[in-house]
Symmetry: C2
Subunit: 112 residues, 2 copies
């Protein structure tokens, strides 16, 4: 079980900003998962990996793929109080789900 | 309502690593909160801020302060598969709780 969080590297977010966006996405996708997946993932150490994308459209394509495979996922838009314009899409979390199911969506991406 | 996540700046964590640790801490403290605090925080946009600390002892002091004030919180130790030694304390999340209660614990820290 794992969760992959894909964040946009093209926005020039600071480290703390990036971390907050990743945490938003992680929590939202977690809540999109069913109770059994939540339990299994937590029981196995809630593995998270942070990956990079370079555009909004790439995040939407990945979200679409996760949606078709019925993997819990969540897209995050920034409220725009700091650094970014309101509504900017910053991150996507995929899972928790079985490793191979997550890899089928995000396996081609580089570590952030 | 907000949640403050305090991460160690002295470990030299890469951006993705930092983001994953912040996300771990965020989710664990969220689960330590009662259902009403969880709902209120999510309903108000789940505000998160990422702050910096510079030692393990500082994180434990802050956790102790949160504990005494009965604010939900969670300390994260890294499993040590990459970059860090196993068991390294990397981050602390405080809240979700009312802004002033969180500030009473983490208000003196700088943004990460």
């Amino acid at each position: 079980m794992k969760q992959a969080i894909v964040a946009r590297a093209d926005l020039g977010m600071g480290e703390g900003k990036l971390a907050a966006q990743v945490a938003h996405a992680s929590l939202q996708a977690y809540e999109d998962a069913d109770r059994q997946a939540q339990r299994e993932w937590k029981g196995s150490g809630q593995k998270k990996i942070v990956l990079q994308a370079n555009s909004e459209s790439q995040l939407f394509e990945l979200a679409d793929r996760a949606d078709k495979k019925r993997i819990p996922h969540a897209i995050v838009r920034d409220a725009g109080h700091t650094q970014l314009d309101p509504g900017t899409v910053t991150a996507l979390a995929v899972g928790p789900a079985a490793d191979d199911r997550v890899d089928a969506v995000t396996g081609d991406l580089s570590l952030y």
